[in-house]
């Protein structure tokens, strides 16, 4: 097996108020893989994401990104390697123009001049948003902002793209465009989502998280067809949706 893009070993974490959010989480994502992370609200998914780039630090256990363990010294490089796309694009896009926002990440890592312009251009091009370069984020539609948010982390050339609920609040057309964009990106992806058809369409493998633990991990189609597993962890497919009917 190749070196994993992302390796989480025996990770536990409690919030200062004593609430235990993660219990002995083990997780491996291999290079080029697209993995869905499923689970009900409050399962600890977002807490886990904040550990992946060192914003939160584990009480015990380790997080390793492409061979580099998260620590105080490595945090900055880990943040370059892990492109975290937050749920609300308005939290992610804070600069006055789209171009400046996409440049923010690489500029923090010392990229400048024409190299910076090239990175910004490529990243926006990858999400089909090059036209928006000089526009203000609040003038874009929600779906466009979501795609620009992805560009802001692509510009850092990350090892792995981590998305928190990328399809929430999107209309069906924007959702489809997002799927097309993500499918074309040649990069390792970990996607937290409640949108099970989306997970099935995009990710060959899925993990199920509940009460701070990883409770299952398998081919997405097998997870979604395991009725007792689905029921036990409050996962529900849309009305009349049949995962087996998609030809996988």
């Amino acid at each position: 097996m190749s070196e994993p893009s992302l390796e989480v070993t025996d990770l536990s974490f409690s919030y200062p108020d004593g609430h235990t959010a993660l219990r002995n989480v083990d997780l491996h994502v291999h290079h080029g893989e697209r993995v869905a992370l499923l689970g009900p609200n409050g399962a600890g998914k977002t807490t886990l994401l904040l550990h992946l780039n060192g914003i939160l630090r584990p009480a015990s256990g380790t997080v390793t990104v492409a061979g580099l363990e998260v620590s105080d010294e490595s945090a900055l490089e880990v943040r370059r390697r892990v492109g975290l796309v937050f749920q609300d694009p308005d939290d992610q896009l804070f600069m006055p123009t789209v171009g400046q926002d996409v440049a923010f990440g690489p500029a923090n890592f010392g990229v400048e001049g024409t190299e910076l312009d090239t990175r910004v251009g490529h990243a926006l091009d990858a999400v089909s948003m090059l036209d928006a370069l000089n526009r203000a984020p609040h003038h874009l539609s929600y779906g466009e902002r979501r795609r620009v948010a992805i560009a802001t982390v692509l510009a850092m050339r990350p090892e792995i793209l981590v998305l928190d609920e990328p399809t929430s609040n999107l209309d069906p057309a924007s959702r489809r465009e997002l799927i097309e964009v993500l499918r074309e990106l040649p990069i390792t992806q970990l996607v937290v989502t409640h949108d099970l058809p989306f997970a099935l369409e995009l990710c060959p493998r899925a993990l199920v998280m509940d009460e701070g633990r990883i409770v299952a991990g398998d081919a997405t189609v097998d997870v979604l067809t395991d009725e007792s597993l689905m029921k036990a962890h409050r996962l529900e497919l849309p009305y009349r949706f049949d995962p087996r009917g998609t030809g996988r």
Partner: protein
């Protein structure tokens, strides 16, 4: 560059002696020339000029309440000092405001913030201004959504004692904005932010742009110098 030009222009106008009517007229011609060159519609400029009205009303009262020597104008007994005061406010405020309108109409807000940045205004201040521009819209739309939600449940405040829910809503909006601030900060840290905004932006103004941009401001300085020396 435009920001520097505006500053020079305004300072020159302020420094022109109040007796030099011709100098003010010249400065006004310069400004009008720039407005015509920039193809600013008259309606656009005059609407923005309305900001000045309260100040002008205040200025209008000065001749009536000023002390000292008085003079008769159209049968009214007016203070000379007051008249001078009113004239100074009218002339200088109008010219200064006009110049600011030209700047704001021909420059986008991001460029303006970037310009302040280039002029070594502290990064903290320009960053705050940038965030304010970015998030004002979001907070305002959140507030208006709440007002709609309140109105939908029959809350139509008319009197002061009905203001309670509105104030509470403003409070919770503050808390939510604060929480958003934390999330934005997380998003910044996630992209390698270490406490210093990276400097980035367009290319600095070329010397050619400097010459064109400063020509009007320098003309205003010339007017000032003339009014203070030869043509007193």
């Amino acid at each position: 560059m435009k920001t520097v030009a505006l500053l020079i222009f305004v300072l020159s106008v302020v420094a022109i002696p109040r007796e030099a009517f011709w100098a003010h007229a010249l400065a006004a011609c310069l400004l009008l020339g720039v407005m015509i060159l920039a193809e600013l519609p008259l309606g656009f400029v005059s609407r923005r000029m309305l900001v000045e009205v309260p100040i002008l009303i205040f200025a209008l009262f000065l001749p009536f309440f000023g002390r000292g020597e008085t003079t008769d104008v159209l049968g009214m007994n007016l203070s000379v000092e007051g008249l001078w005061g009113a004239w100074t406010i009218l002339a200088k405020a109008t010219l200064g405001l006009g110049a600011s309108i030209v700047l704001s109409a021909t420059t986008t807000v991001p460029d303006l913030i970037w310009a302040l940045d280039r002029l070594h205004v502290p990064k903290v201040i320009t960053a705050i201004a940038g965030f304010m521009v970015r998030y004002l819209d979001i907070v305002a739309s959140e507030f208006s959504r709440r007002r709609v939600a309140m109105a939908s449940r029959g809350y139509e405040p008319r009197w002061l004692w009905q203001v309670g829910p509105l104030a509470q809503s403003a409070g919770s909006l503050f808390v939510r904005s604060f929480e958003r601030g934390e999330r934005v900060h997380n998003a910044m840290v996630a992209r390698g932010f270490t406490g210093q905004m990276p400097s980035q932006g367009n290319d600095p103004a070329t010397s050619r742009q400097w010459v064109t941009g400063l020509s009007v401001a320098l003309a205003a300085v010339l007017v000032l110098v003339l009014s203070r020396t030869v043509l007193r």
